[in-house]
């Protein structure tokens, strides 16, 4: 069936709510309104107000209540209306949810999913454009995923809901209605921890995730006559599928990492360091990164374009690395 990225998310929640009575959806405006972006449209009507629950504007409360419910055997999905505001629930996530299993010697789990719209390119300004995934990739006990396709959006969300550990699920609002994609009518899951090889190539590897996957794929097609690019979509950022990353680097010897989050302290730094350490003798050029500039995402379209990676910057970076 042909669905948008946001419809794939809605379907995943709908199916899991129907499959397991322990699954709940909680967040600001997720119920009566069906979500600020309509990700949960119709779900309260279908599954009831006790399972699709409107919450006060307090992310700390939403996550904290979710952790408590999870300890009691429920599997709450906790929506952040914009992922930018996940920082209000930061303590509950990193000190409570992420440490539960550790604190109890493995005898308890915290099966929550925290999901919400991330990303820029929509002129949303600094409070509606953030990509805070790197904060959470520093925290053991969490899993972090960021789908780029409708197929992955659905399959990863279902896997996240069924996972016994807290999963932070970054959905990219730029893709919500810009992607329309055929996905299977029958049920499927996408495993957490597995990258997707989007395109094979011999000359260099581009490692990316989220919305830039599409721009990188366009570059790979447009530049096909000059350089043969391999594209890896990480999909899961914690834990990263190192086997796929290293296998590709050993083949091509050149790597460009592209993400929309800021450069300094971003996921790209960790990926680059691992490659430098484990694949040093296979490298035929410096490991390069393309990411947002180290500033807050501006509102004005021209400034936003200057700050975020875009098609032109990706093409330029690939050309530079290919020539090295």
């Amino acid at each position: 069936m042909l669905v948008t990225y946001i419809e794939a998310i809605r379907q995943a929640m709908d199916e899991e709510l129907a499959r397991d009575r322990n699954v709940l959806l909680m967040g600001e405006d997720v119920g009566v309104l069906g979500g600020a972006f309509k990700a949960s449209a119709g779900l309260q009507e279908k599954h009831g107000a006790d399972r699709v629950v409107d919450m006060p504007i307090s992310e700390s409360l939403i996550v904290g209540a979710g952790v408590g419910l999870a300890v009691q055997g429920m599997r709450p999905i906790l929506e952040m209306q914009f992922i930018d505001f996940i920082s209000c629930g930061f303590d509950q996530i990193v000190n409570s949810a992420a440490t539960l299993r550790y604190r109890h010697g493995g005898q308890t789990a915290c099966p929550i999913v925290i999901r919400g719209p991330s990303g820029g390119g929509v002129h949303g300004g600094l409070y509606h454009s953030q990509n805070p995934e790197a904060w959470f990739c520093h925290v053991p006990g969490l899993k972090v995923v960021a789908p780029a396709t409708a197929y992955d959006a659905k399959g990863l969300l279902k896997s996240a809901i069924r996972d016994d550990d807290p999963v932070i699920y970054f959905e990219h609002k730029f893709l919500y209605r810009r992607i329309k994609e055929e996905i299977p009518a029958e049920e499927y899951l996408v495993p957490i921890g597995k990258a997707a090889l989007r395109k094979e190539g011999r000359d260099l590897t581009v490692i990316t995730y989220g919305a830039p996957v599409h721009a990188v794929m366009k570059a790979a097609r447009d530049m096909a006559t000059e350089v043969d690019i391999e594209v890896i979509d990480l999909r899961t950022l914690l834990p990263i599928d190192w086997a796929t990353v290293k296998g590709s680097v050993r083949k091509t010897g050149k790597v460009l990492i592209v993400h929309e989050a800021r450069l300094t302290g971003g996921i790209g730094g960790e990926v680059a360091a691992r490659i430098a350490q484990d694949c040093f003798e296979e490298l035929d050029g410096p490991v390069m990164r393309l990411a947002a500039r180290d500033v807050h995402t501006p509102f004005a379209p021209a400034m936003e374009a200057y700050v975020l990676p875009n098609q032109e910057k990706i093409t330029e970076a690939i050309r530079k690395l290919a020539a090295y």
């Binding site: 972006f37 820029g120 929509v122 016994d164 209605r177 599409h214 296998g247 936003e304 090295y324």
Partner: protein
């Protein structure tokens, strides 16, 4: 001056909207901010106000049509006499001003095709050899060392004449073979590895791509109980040299006792009989009822038999204490109790430890026979096979006769570090004797 009425972006993820109805007609005079039309999007329904006072000269979109944001909906001729300046048209979207992923930001564009998921093809062949100087990359240095190449002889096509991996590969492919003899000393910049004869295969194994991650596969992380079982199984196999021996047991007398009990209203399975027989045989063969502690064998005074029970939460092995002192009916009742409590998760940890010998009964689907793994630190385990009616030859009044009997293969595994063949075989033979004799008083 003629100005455009454009479709606004009503929310960050909204890329298009449907014109529901027009509230004005072409030719009509309108005031600034007067509602011109109603639109509907995925997120909100809204009225679009007029950007300026003036006359609607043209309506470009019919009700029911879906239009992308920034599309022109109508045109308005403003009154030049009015002091209101024409509002600036909304910024035009083009490659230069649009946001992030280039063309993707063009909200009216066709849907973005889903990137394919491709599987890695066969691993690339191991890269060939070379040696150089000037500026080289790690991979080129390695290839040079492996193949004994002089990199100064290879034309470089990289930045500043750098010799790239591709250059080396092409050099080798075009017959720029390494020298026949052993290479000269390793090139200055190559790793200080000993020279490798050029004909030798590269010292590295071919580099493989990782196994494909099939879509739709489900990853099931081990539960704590599964982890424990896995660790235990591996440890047992590494610790004990297992010997597996088999006895073919005629169960017809056991079947007779069962039938008799049934008439008395007591349902007995085959398992309590085997437990009973094993307990008796263990009392006679103390070495089988022992545990290993370091480099000592501890002959256990009490006979505590651990019996595997399958539950929703995985395999549990409750322990039947002092099984040799229990009657058949007591054993049966205790097993029923364990089974019920295991399923409801009400067995205490104390009841799962302290076994001195194990019995596993895979049930009616247990197949002909199996070779069980010893439950450490015990030294022996029995496994029941399927009970099948077979024609067997027996002695009837000095004559060989063929009769139909319920037969069972009983497997015993013992730890050959501690138990010699005589003791192990003697034990299993004795279990068989007890079962075939049919005396369970």
């Amino acid at each position: 001056m003629l100005i455009d009425v454009v479709m606004p972006q009503l929310g960050e993820s909204v890329v298009e909207g449907v014109v529901v109805k027009w509230l004005v007609e072409a030719g009509e005079l309108v005031a600034k901010d007067q509602p011109l039309l109603e639109i509907s999007t995925d997120k909100v329904d809204a009225e679009i106000p007029s950007p300026s006072a003036g006359r609607v000269t043209e309506i470009l979109v019919k009700p029911g049509e879906t239009v992308p944001i920034q599309a022109v909906l109508a045109k308005i001729e403003t009154d030049p006499a009015a002091s209101l300046p024409a509002p600036e048209a909304a910024p035009k979207w083009d490659e230069e001003t649009e946001g992030f992923p280039g063309h993707m930001a063009r909200t009216s564009g066709p849907p973005i095709p889903a990137p394919p998921r491709v599987e890695p093809s066969a691993p690339a062949p191991p890269p060939p050899p070379t040696t150089g100087r000037i500026r080289i990359t790690p991979v080129v240095a390695r290839m040079a060392a492996e193949h004994g190449l002089d990199l100064s002889k290879i034309p470089g096509t990289g930045i500043d004449g750098r010799v790239t991996r591709k250059d080396v590969e092409e050099y080798l492919a075009s017959g720029g073979a390494p020298p026949a003899g052993p290479p000269k000393a390793a090139p200055a910049l190559s790793p200080a590895a000993a020279p490798v004869p050029s004909k030798a295969a590269p010292s590295r194994a071919p580099i493989g791509s990782p196994p494909p991650a099939a879509e739709g596969d489900q990853v099931v992380p081990w539960t704590p109980i599964r982890k424990k079982i896995a660790e235990h199984m591996v440890r047992s196999k590494q610790t004990s040299p297992h010997v597996h021996i088999f006895a073919e047991v005629d169960m017809h007398r056991v079947a007779g006792v069962r039938a008799k009990s049934k008439k008395e209203g007591v349902n007995l399975t085959y398992l309590p009989f085997v437990i009973h027989a094993a307990a008796k045989a263990l009392r006679e063969t103390p070495i089988m009822n022992s545990t290993v502690s370091g480099e000592s064998t501890v002959l256990k005074k009490d006979i505590h038999i651990a019996v595997a029970v399958d539950t929703d939460k995985g395999l549990l092995v409750p322990v039947l204490r002092n099984a040799d002192r229990m009657s058949l009916k007591e054993i049966s009742a205790a097993m029923d109790d364990f089974g019920a409590r295991a399923k409801s998760g009400k067995i205490s940890p104390d009841e799962l430890s302290g076994g001195t010998f194990s019995i596993t009964n895979p049930g009616i689907k247990g197949n002909l026979f199996g070779t069980p793994i010893i439950n450490q630190p015990q030294v022996g385990i029995l496994r029941l096979g399927q009970i099948v009616k077979r024609p067997v030859v027996i002695d009837v009044d000095g004559e060989d006769s063929i009769v139909i009997r319920p037969m069972m293969y009983l497997c015993c595994a013992y730890d050959h570090r501690v138990i010699d063949g005589v003791a192990g075989n003697g034990f299993l033979y004795r279990v068989r004797e007890i079962l075939e004799a049919g005396d369970f008083s």
